[in-house]
């Protein structure tokens, strides 16, 4: 079947199998390998992308279901050569080690900050609780998000 969607602001059309997962569509068909695949039970969150502005686990969405919708991946966080504060926060606060969970964590963090520009530690932990990081022990991720909150370009925290 043919599917058309907007990915990182660009319209893409591809011929796909109906059962193709969005995560594999992004990785294998579009070459957007920043989004990762880490489990088969929707537990790890390494695959988190945005679907119409909401973070979703792209292993749990069929590419076909994303047809007509807007997808945003980690590759779109940096805009016009400007890193997103979330990206800078992860670097500044050592919010990553192997980097495998990082894109998913950052997409969730960006969405959190968009709706809550000044999240507490508990709110951040809650927001990323559907995702696993095997490296950082989470404290530095929490700090990274707090750093981003404190360094947003405008106080409202818009993307």
């Amino acid at each position: 079947m043919q599917v058309t969607m907007t990915v990182n602001g660009e319209e893409v059309t591809r011929e796909v199998e109906g059962r193709l997962l969005l995560v594999h569509f992004l990785r294998d068909h579009l070459g957007l390998t920043g989004t990762h695949w880490g489990c088969d039970t929707s537990n790890c969150g390494t695959c988190v992308v945005w679907l119409d502005g909401e973070p979703v686990k792209s292993c749990t969405v069929l590419a076909a279901m994303a047809g007509g919708h807007e997808v945003r991946t980690v590759e779109d966080l940096e805009r016009d050569g400007e890193l997103d504060p979330v990206q800078r926060g992860f670097m500044e606060c050592h919010g990553l080690q192997c980097g495998f969970c990082t894109p998913g964590m950052m997409m969730t963090a960006r969405a959190l900050l968009d709706r809550n520009p000044d999240p507490s530690e508990e709110e951040i932990r809650e927001a990323i609780s559907g995702q696993i990081c095997r490296c950082t022990g989470y404290a530095t991720i929490v700090r990274s998000v707090r750093w981003a909150a404190a360094h947003e370009a405008n106080a409202g925290g818009a993307a």
Partner: protein, 796 residues
């Protein structure tokens, strides 16, 4: 979080400064935060095919027949390979890291659920999976051996009838220490405490599973393998030996690795399948396991059933420790440890205490479970050893009604006893334990916590405070003692300074997230004065780096880090000769100050390392006997292991109604000798502490009586999320290693090793009102609830 090393000067009991730009940000991060990391599954080659593996649904069965006709007829399938086909190629079996053999694809029997039976190569991942469904295997199901305690019973099914003359499931007996001397101490001791202590089977479960892309070029016979390998050089040599491919025609590339934790040390059948698939089809072949395959078939860790015994005087002087261990090694003995150490470094079970005697006896057996025994974030079984001693010391404290901190401090090896030879023969290089313990007590506010606990207990609340103190043995290791399948555990390093004074350092070890690209640049920067930003770190590619055994067992800094420091010093020595010619003074008149040589007494006369580099490559004469260029290579053979230590304190609250354990606080004070990048060190510690929460409270690979794996997905194998762990509180002391060139010790695994006993000790401490002295991990609500049942309720 409290970061004690940022407190003002004067707080610390040492004058240490971190190495080479200290807490600098990581050089590798810019690609990761842009989603531009390059992991194995990101490798896409023209014409690449996909491999999927058919696995056994049962734990023990004879294979009656395999019919691949339908799979072969699938329009997208390029090859279907069974054990019979591999037998023809001589590749059906491969050596394990501990000298056993393991089936690449089962030929005669399947020996664990999830074992590899056949593989398919197809045009895409989905088609490969579809074709697996079309393979028809007939199994004659056999009784499995699941309960390790029954593996040696007469009449138990023999799992390894492939081994000549094998009539039981015994693998090895091993012992260390002095049995008679230990018995004598035990016989006359005031107090003897014994406890059965289980370290359950767990799994490293890095977020990236295992996989590879094999690209065999039929024309020049060259194999390129992108692989999730923690040890690319060792793997290349083993492929050469096993597959008979010439070693110079094999290139193993470990690109970015999404966590390893010991799980990516062994060679798994999947890698061999992909290589065979590429040879057979003439196309690049990718194999990427899914999470269930990862959890059910790749290397598990631990799985020791231990009886610990401790002898002491009534006033708390520990005299001796002994233990008897039954080790479950699964269906193939795949333990990752130096050859002469079948039980890894379990011999350090004597802990941080000055003992009169110690003895350990161990028996390892086969069961119908996945093979492994990998060093999951630990230096070869040290996690089990530390858990045993730190748990049994707490049991002793319980019996003596002594404070567990006081008991530990009373028995510490004293600073003037180092280097200290343990009763099991290990030579601890350096340590100063009491200040580390005291610092942890101070950060935690130990006395205040005990007061709070007394108050809460009086109200019926369950609050526990757990302490552990560990000594690890990391950085394997001296080649006279340590090798993996005949390969000595030394590591090469090469440093090349370019004409403009920028440099490239090539390592034999491989990062899986530990930050080597930063840390090693810092080590070289410290030694040679070139800023870390100007030093490129190349690793993870056998074509581009010198030979060495790879990253696991916290060996990167102790072994490769030493190599990097020494190779830089070698380059500096050459630079000194060139500087003396440039400044027209004798070598003895030169002084090195980070980045430049000065003439003694005339600091204005100097040349920088960058100027020297240009001269080394430039026109004009060099001093007599000095070759052009500014580079060096070494292979570092460590003189001893390094022995980091640490003191951990955990505070838990248990909900009396649900038996849910909440880790409220965790204080970790680590001493890993000289510290290079404190930010990275803290990150490593945080990681290990999270492992500890997982193992102590959540994680276990369990099996039912038929051998079905009950921990085969992330729904069943529970890994801590941000909600299960507290904000970590860390601190440090510094006791440099006397034999490491910069005094550093390993730290990557300290917290995984040290934290589980602190957490379990805290839970058991919370349950003291129930008269409980021990409970086994993982301390899930149901286990804690069971422990609480049948004994008096806490005082109300």
């Amino acid at each position: 979080m409290t970061t004690v090393d940022e407190r003002p000067a004067g707080f610390e009991n040492n004058d240490h400064k971190p190495v080479g730009h200290g807490r600098m940000l990581r050089k590798e991060d810019p690609r990761f935060i842009r989603g531009k990391g390059r992991y194995v599954d990101d490798v896409q080659l023209p014409g690449m095919l996909h491999c999927a593996i058919l696995r056994s649904p049962v734990a023990h069965a004879r294979i009656v027949s395999i019919d691949t006709t339908a799979a072969e007829a699938h329009p997208k399938v390029k090859a279907v390979v069974t054990g019979a086909a591999l037998t023809e190629l001589g590749l059906a079996w491969m050596p394990t890291l501990s000298g056993d053999v393991q089936a690449v694809l089962a030929t005669d029997k399947v020996r664990f659920q999830g074992q590899e039976v056949a593989f398919v190569v197809a045009e895409d991942r989905y088609a490969a999976r579809d074709a697996l469904e079309l393979i028809d295997v007939e199994y004659d199901v056999l009784d499995p051996v699941i309960d390790v305690r029954r593996a040696l019973e007469p009449g138990a099914p023999v799992i390894r009838d492939d081994l000549d003359g094998k009539t039981d499931n015994h693998i090895f007996d091993w012992e260390t220490g002095d049995e008679a001397a230990t018995e004598a101490v035990f016989a006359s001791a005031d107090v003897v405490v014994s406890e059965d202590i289980v370290y359950p089977r767990v799994h490293p479960a890095p977020m990236e599973t295992c996989g590879c892309v094999a690209d065999y070029d039929r024309i020049d016979g060259r194999l390129t393998l992108w692989s999730t390998s923690q040890a690319p050089h060792a793997h290349r040599t083993l492929y050469a030996i096993v597959a008979g491919l010439p070693e110079h025609k094999i290139r193993v590339i470990s690109p970015d690795i999404g966590g390893g934790f010991g799980g990516k040390v062994p060679i798994y059948p999947g890698y061999v399948c992909a290589i065979v698939g590429s040879i057979v089809t003439g196309k690049p072949v990718k194999w990427m396991e899914d999470r269930s395959e990862n959890l059910t078939s790749t290397g598990f860790a631990r799985d020791y059933i231990m009886r610990g015994e401790i002898a002491a005087t009534r006033d708390g002087k520990i005299l001796a420790v002994r233990t008897n261990v039954l080790a479950d090694h699964g269906a193939f003995n795949g333990v990752a440890a130096p050859v002469k150490y079948p039980a890894g470094f379990f011999g350090v079970f004597t802990g941080s205490y000055d003992l009169q005697a110690a003895h350990c006896k161990m028996t390892a057996v086969y069961t119908n479970k996945a093979p492994g025994g990998v060093a999951y974030a630990c230096s070869f079984r040290i996690t089990e050893a530390v858990y045993l001693i730190e748990r049994i010391v707490d049991c002793l404290a319980y019996e003596l009604q002594m404070d567990p901190v006081e008991l530990r401090i009373k028995n510490f090896i004293q600073p003037d006893q180092f280097p200290y030879r343990t009763k099991t023969g290990w030579l601890y290089d350096s340590g100063d334990y009491e200040p580390t313990m005291r610092k942890a007590l101070e950060i935690a506010g130990y006395d205040e916590l005990r007061r709070e606990q007394a108050e809460r207990r009086a109200c019926g609340e369950l609050m526990g405070i757990g302490v552990s103190f560990f000594t690890e043995a990391v950085g394997a290791g001296p080649r006279k003692d340590m090798d993996i399948l005949g390969l000595g555990m030394a590591d090469g390093c090469e440093l090349r300074v370019h004409p403009t004074g920028k440099a490239v350092v090539r390592l034999s070890v491989q990062t899986q997230g530990q930050g080597h690209e930063t840390t090693f640049a810092q080590i070289v920067a410290e030694e040679i004065g070139i800023p870390p930003a100007d030093i490129d770190v190349v690793h993870g590619d056998t074509d581009q780096t010198p030979f060495g055994l790879g990253t696991y067992g916290s060996r990167s800094t102790p072994v490769s880090g030493a190599a990097a420091a020494l190779v830089a010093r070698k380059v500096r020595d050459k630079a000194r000769l060139i500087a003396s010619a440039m400044l027209e003074v004798s070598v003895a008149d030169l002084e090195w100050q980070k980045g430049a040589f000065h003439v003694k007494g005339d600091p204005a006369k100097s040349v920088t390392i960058q100027e020297i580099a240009m001269r080394a490559h430039g026109a004009g004469d060099l001093p007599e006997g000095v070759e052009g260029g500014l580079e060096a290579q070494i292979c570092y053979n460590p003189e001893n292991l390094t022995y980091p230590h640490g003191a951990y304190i955990c505070v838990v609250d248990i909900d009396p109604g649900t038996a849910q354990v909440k880790v409220r606080r965790f204080v970790a004070v680590d001493d890993c000798g000289t510290r290079i990048n404190p930010m990275i060190i803290e990150g490593q510690v945080h990681r290990g502490l999270t492992d500890g929460v997982g193992m102590a409270l959540m994680e276990m690979i369990a099996f039912d009586e038929d051998g079905n794996c009950l921990g085969g997905s992330l729904m069943d194998y529970l890994i801590p999320t941000a909600l299960e762990v507290p904000d970590w509180e860390t601190g440090f002391t510094v006791t440099p290693s006397p034999h490491h060139p910069i005094g550093a010790k390993g730290v990557g695994e300290s917290a995984t090793v040290g934290s589980p006993p602190a957490i379990v000790n805290a839970v058991v401490d919370a349950l003291k009102p129930f008269g409980i002295r021990h409970a086994d991990m993982p301390l899930t609500p149901s286990r804690v609830w069971d422990a609480m049942r049948g004994v008096p309720r806490p005082p109300v």
